[in-house]
C-alpha cells in the first residue's frame, strides 16, 4: 500500500475505535454507572490514540526511507568511480533513481543496475514494513486505549492533554521552519566560504559566477569565476532607492490626505483602490515593468538624448515603488490615526491651520511609526524578487546611475538556482551565501523598525 492509502486506513481504524469507544461508554452509562466524562470523549480518546502515533510513524517512515536508501545505494559505487575526478554523489544517485523508475538514458554501467535492483528490493521491503508497522501500531494503540475505558477513567482530561500536545506541536512548526531556513542557508554558505574567502565575497567588486575555468563568452580566454557581491548590493540599493523615492512621498502624502483631510466617503472609495495595488501579484508588476514601463522610459530617454539601458534600474525601481505605495500608505495611515485627537484640537485652538497642525504636531508625534513603516518598506524592496528578475536584467554592473542596467541579490539567487544545479559548485553555493546576507539584512531592518517603535513610542493615555 502507498502512504496515502495507509493514512486513509489508519483514519478508518481510528473512526472505528471512536464509534466503539463511544458505544461502550454509552452502554455503561445506560447500565447505571456514573461516567467521569461525556461518552464521546471516551470514543475520541480511543480514536486519537489509534490515529496520532501511527500517522507520525508513517510520516517519519515515508520521508526517512528515501534518505536511508540513498546512503545505502552509495555503497554500490565502485571505489575507482569514487576516486575519479568527476565524482558527484548527486549525479550518481540520479543515475540510479532513473534506472529504478525505468528511465534509461544510454548505457549504464553494471553497478548502477545492481544498485537499482537492490533499491527496488529495499523499496518492496520498506513498503511491507511500513504497512505492517503503521497498521499494527494503529490497531494496538487503539486497542490499548479502548481497554482503558471504564466509568472512572478521566477521558476528557486525557483528550484535552492530547489536544494540548497537538496545539503545542503546531506552534513549534514556526520554530522548525526557522531552523530549516537557517540550516539550509547557513550550511551551504559555510561550504561556499570554504571555497571563496569571506573578504572576496563581501568586498569584491566583480560578480562573475561562471563555472570555474569555463571560457568567458566571446573573450576567448579562460575566465575565472569571481564572487564579489558589491555590485549586487549596490544594484539592490539603487533599485530600492528609486522605489522608495516613488513610494515614500506618494504613500506618505496619500496617507496624510486620507487620514486628515478626506471625507469618509472619499476615504471609503480611495482606500480599497490603493490596497488593490498591494494585491496585484509581483509577477504582474514584473510583466508591466518589462513590457510597458521599460520601453517607455527607454523611448523617453532616447528622445531626450540620454543613453538608457533597455533593462534600466529606473524601470524596475519605479514599478517596485508602485508596488510599495500601499504598504507605506496603510502603515502610515495607522500611525497617523493613532495620534490622539486632543493633540490636533490643541493645535487648532492655538490658531494653527490644518497643514501646520499636521507638519508641526501630528507628523512629529507619528514620526517613529512612519520611520518604522519606511524601514519595513525598504525590507520589502530588498527582498522583492519577480520585478527585478523580469525587468532589471542580469548584468552585474557596478553603477549608481539609474539609467544603467544593474542586477540585484534576489535576481541572482533566482537565476543561479532555477533549473538543475550541482550542489557542489561554488556557483550554486554562492546563491546560498547571497540568501544568507539577504536574510540578515531584512531581519536587521525589521528589528530596527521594531526597536524604533518601542523606544520612541509616546504613551498618550
Amino acid at each position: 500500500m502507498n502512504s496515502f492509502s495507509l493514512a486513509i486506513a489508519v483514519l478508518l481504524f481510528s473512526s472505528g475505535y471512536f464509534f466503539l469507544g463511544t458505544r461502550a461508554s454509552t452502554m455503561q452509562r445506560a447500565s447505571g454507572s456514573r461516567l467521569h466524562s461525556l461518552p464521546h470523549y471516551y470514543g475520541l480518546f480511543a480514536g486519537l490514540v489509534a490515529a496520532i502515533p501511527a500517522l507520525v510513524l508513517l510520516a517519519v517512515l515515508a520521508i526517512g526511507d528515501d534518505i536511508i536508501f540513498r546512503s545505502m545505494a552509495l555503497d554500490f559505487v565502485p571505489d575507482e568511480v569514487k576516486a575519479g575526478d568527476n565524482y558527484k554523489e548527486v549525479i550518481v544517485l540520479a543515475q540510479i533513481t532513473n534506472v529504478v523508475n525505468g528511465i534509461n538514458f544510454g548505457e549504464q554501467p553494471q553497478w548502477v543496475h545492481d544498485a537499482a535492483d537492490a533499491w527496488r528490493g529495499w523499496d518492496a521491503t520498506s513498503t511491507t514494513l511500513k504497512t505492517i508497522t503503521t497498521l499494527s501500531l494503529s490497531l494496538l494503540a487503539g486497542l490499548f486505549a479502548y481497554r482503558q475505558i471504564n466509568p472512572g477513567f478521566r477521558s476528557r482530561n486525557a483528550v484535552e492533554r492530547i489536544l494540548m500536545i497537538v496545539l503545542a506541536g503546531s506552534s513549534a512548526i514556526a520554530i522548525f521552519t526557522t531552523i530549516g531556513i537557517v540550516f539550509s542557508v547557513v550550511f551551504e554558505s559555510m561550504r561556499f566560504f570554504a571555497l571563496v574567502p569571506v573578504s572576496e565575497f563581501l568586498f569584491g567588486l566583480t560578480w562573475n559566477p561562471q563555472f570555474e575555468g569555463a571560457e568567458r563568452a566571446g573573450s576567448g580566454q579562460q575566465g575565472l569565476a569571481t564572487y564579489g557581491s558589491v555590485p549586487l548590493f549596490v544594484g539592490t540599493f539603487l533599485i530600492s532607492v528609486v522605489a522608495l523615492s516613488v513610494a515614500v512621498p506618494v504613500g506618505l502624502f496619500s496617507a496624510i490626505y486620507l487620514s486628515e483631510y478626506a471625507s469618509p466617503r472619499v476615504r471609503a472609495a480611495v482606500k480599497p483602490l490603493m490596497e488593490l495595488l498591494a494585491g496585484v501579484p509581483t509577477v504582474v508588476y514584473g510583466f508591466f515593468a518589462a513590457l510597458t514601463v521599460a520601453p517607455f522610459i527607454r523611448g523617453t530617454g532616447m528622445s531626450l538624448g540620454l543613453d538608457v539601458a533597455s533593462e534600466s534600474a529606473l524601470a524596475a525601481g519605479l514599478v517596485m515603488g508602485i508596488m510599495i505605495i500601499p504598504f507605506v500608505s496603510s502603515l502610515s495611515d495607522d500611525v497617523l490615526n493613532a495620534v490622539p485627537q486632543a493633540l490636533r484640537d490643541a493645535a487648532y485652538g492655538l490658531g494653527s491651520t490644518q497643514s501646520e497642525t499636521v507638519r508641526q504636531v501630528v507628523l512629529p508625534a507619528a514620526l517613529p511609526g512612519v520611520v518604522a513603516a519606511i524601514l519595513l518598506a525598504v525590507s520589502r524592496a530588498v527582498g522583492e524578487t519577480m520585478i527585478v528578475v523580469m525587468a532589471a536584467g542580469l548584468a552585474a554592473n557596478l553603477s549608481l546611475n539609474p539609467l544603467d542596467a544593474v542586477t540585484t541579490v534576489t535576481s541572482q539567487i533566482v537565476t543561479i538556482l532555477v533549473g538543475d544545479q550541482e550542489f557542489e559548485s561554488a556557483k550554486t553555493l554562492s546563491a546560498f551565501a547571497l540568501a544568507l546576507t539577504l536574510i540578515v539584512i531584512t531581519l536587521a531592518l525589521n528589528f530596527m523598525a521594531l526597536q524604533i517603535v518601542k523606544k520612541y513610542r509616546e504613551q498618550y493615555d
Binding site: 496545539l167 521552519t177 531556513i181 496585484v280 533566482v414
Partner: protein
C-alpha cells in the same frame, strides 16, 4: 527678542508689554495670505499623491486589459473537410494509434488547398503555413468524439498560425518589404482569398482556457497551470489553515508565559518578514535536497507556500481570538466548561470569521506567489495536466512568468489574458474575504 516672526504675536516689540487687539489682528492678518496658500499647497500635495497612485493603478490595469482582452480571442479558419476514413483511420479500428498513423494533416491541407486555390509546391507550402500545427489534433479528437462524421464532409474550424494571426490583427504590416516579415506575399494572397469567402473568423480562444503549455502561441493555454494552481493551493490550505489556527489558539489561550513561547512569537514575526524567495531555498534544500522528493510537484509547492502563509494566518487568527470578549469565556467557564471546551465550543466559533478572512487573504497571497515556486522547479515546461499533487506541474503565475519571456506578439496577448484570469481569481478571493468580514464578523 526678535523683531520678526509669528512667534512674537501678542508681544510688543518695544517694551515687552501687551499689544492692542487691533495690532495683534493686523500682525496675524499679515501672515494669513501666505499661510492660506501654504495650506492649499499642502492639500494639493495630498491630492496629487493620491492622483499619482490612482494613475499608476489605472495605467497598470489599462496596459494589461488593453492587451489581455484581445488575448481572449484569436483567428480561426473554417474549412470544409472531407473526412476520408481510409486516410484518417488506416487500421480501421478507430484507435488513437490508428488515427495518429493516419494522415489528418493531409486531409486538412487538402481542404485548405481547395479553399485557397493553392497549387504548386511553393504555393502549397505557403498555404500549409496558414493553419496551426494543432489542427490535426483537433481533427483527431473530433473523430474520436463522434466517429459518425467519418466519410462525410464537415465544416470544421481550426486556429490559424500565430504569425497569420498577428498579420490579421495588423501587427505585421502589408507595407513591410516581403523579406522583413514572417509572412510572404503568397500567404497574404491566400489569407485574402479566405477572408473574401468569409472563412476567417475572430472568436473566443478555446485554446487559451482549455489548452496546455505549448511553444506554439496559438495553441498555448492556461488549463494545466490552473489545475496546478488549484492542487498547490489545496495542499497549502490543508496544511496552513489547521496549523495556523492551532498555533493561534495555543499562543493566545494556553501557552505558558515563558521563554519558549516568547521564542515562538519572535519566530513567527521573523518568518513574516523573510523574503518569499528564501522559502523557495528552504524547499529546495530541505524537501528536494535532503528528503529526496521530486522537483516540480504541487505537493512541495503547497508545503512551501503553506510555510510562507502561516504567519499571515496565525497573526490574523490571533487578532480574531483576542477580539472575542472575555465575558464569553467567563460565562462558559462559569457554567462548568473546561478551558478546552470553552475554547472549542465558544471562542473558536466566534473567532472563525476573522480566521477565515485571514486564511482567504493568505491563500490569495499564495495564489499570486511566483519566486519560491521557481526555486523548487515548477518552472519546467510541462505539457501534461497534473492529475494529482505528485505529478509535475506548474502554476498560473509561473506560467505567466514563462510566457512573458516569449517574444511572439500572441504570447504577449495571451500572457495579459492569463494575468486577467489570475487577477479575477484574486479579486474574487479578496471580495470573499471582505464579504466574510462584513457579514459574519461580530463587533462587540
Amino acid at each position: 527678542m526678535t523683531e520678526t516672526g509669528m512667534n512674537n504675536i501678542g508681544v510688543d516689540k518695544a517694551g515687552g508689554g501687551m499689544i492692542s487687539p487691533q495690532e495683534a489682528a493686523a500682525r496675524v492678518g499679515a501672515g494669513l495670505a501666505a499661510r492660506r496658500a501654504c495650506e492649499k499647497r499642502f492639500r494639493a500635495y495630498g491630492r496629487i499623491a493620491i492622483g499619482i497612485a490612482l494613475a499608476f493603478l489605472v495605467t497598470l490595469f489599462v496596459s494589461i486589459f488593453s492587451k489581455g482582452i484581445p488575448g481572449f480571442f484569436q483567428h480561426y479558419v473554417t474549412l470544409d473537410v472531407t473526412l476520408d476514413s481510409a486516410r484518417l483511420d488506416p487500421t480501421g479500428d478507430l484507435s488513437v494509434q490508428s488515427l495518429y498513423d493516419g494522415d489528418a494533416r493531409g486531409v486538412i491541407r487538402a481542404a485548405l488547398y481547395d479553399a485557397t486555390g493553392a497549387s504548386g509546391r511553393s504555393g502549397r507550402k505557403a498555404a500549409g503555413k496558414i493553419i496551426s500545427a494543432g489542427a490535426e489534433q483537433r481533427l483527431r479528437n473530433a473523430v474520436l468524439d463522434n466517429p459518425a462524421i467519418l466519410d462525410t464532409t464537415q465544416r470544421m474550424t481550426f486556429a490559424v498560425d500565430d504569425d497569420v494571426d498577428s498579420f490579421l490583427r495588423g501587427f505585421i504590416k502589408r507595407e513591410t518589404p516581403e523579406k522583413d516579415r514572417r509572412i510572404n506575399d503568397r500567404m497574404i494572397g491566400y489569407i485574402d482569398a479566405l477572408q473574401e469567402q468569409g472563412l476567417i473568423s475572430f472568436e473566443f480562444s478555446d485554446y487559451l482556457i482549455f489548452g496546455s503549455a505549448s511553444r506554439n502561441a496559438e495553441m498555448a493555454g492556461i488549463y494545466g497551470a490552473l489545475i496546478g494552481s488549484l492542487l498547490t493551493l489545496a495542499v497549502c490550505l490543508v496544511l496552513s489553515f489547521p496549523i495556523g489556527v492551532a498555533t493561534a489558539i495555543y499562543l493566545e489561550e494556553f501557552a505558558p508565559k515563558n521563554r519558549i513561547t516568547e521564542i515562538i512569537e519572535i519566530n513567527i514575526n521573523n518568518l513574516a518578514a523573510v523574503p518569499s524567495v528564501v522559502f523557495g531555498i528552504l524547499g529546495l534544500a530541505i524537501f528536494i535536497g535532503i528528503f529526496g522528493m521530486p522537483r516540480s510537484i504541487p505537493l512541495i509547492g503547497g508545503v512551501v507556500l503553506a510555510l510562507m502563509t502561516l504567519p499571515t494566518i496565525i497573526i490574523s487568527s490571533r487578532a480574531a481570538i483576542r477580539a472575542v470578549p472575555p465575558s464569553i469565556r467567563d460565562a462558559a467557564l462559569g457554567v462548568g466548561a473546561s478551558r478546552v471546551q470553552t475554547m472549542l465550543h465558544h471562542v473558536v466559533p466566534l473567532a472563525m470569521p476573522g480566521m477565515l478572512t485571514g486564511t482567504i487573504i493568505g491563500m490569495a497571497q499564495a495564489l499570486g506567489e511566483t519566486a519560491p515556486l521557481l526555486m523548487i522547479g515548477m518552472v519546467a515546461f510541462i505539457v501534461d495536466v497534473p492529475g494529482s499533487v505528485t505529478d509535475p506541474g506548474t502554476v498560473l503565475p509561473v506560467q505567466i512568468f514563462m510566457w512573458a519571456d516569449f517574444a511572439e506578439r500572441m504570447f504577449v496577448l495571451k500572457t495579459s489574458a492569463a494575468i486577467m484570469v489570475l487577477l479575477a481569481f484574486l479579486i474574487l478571493m479578496n471580495a470573499a474575504a471582505i464579504f466574510v468580514r462584513k457579514k459574519l464578523e461580530r463587533r462587540w
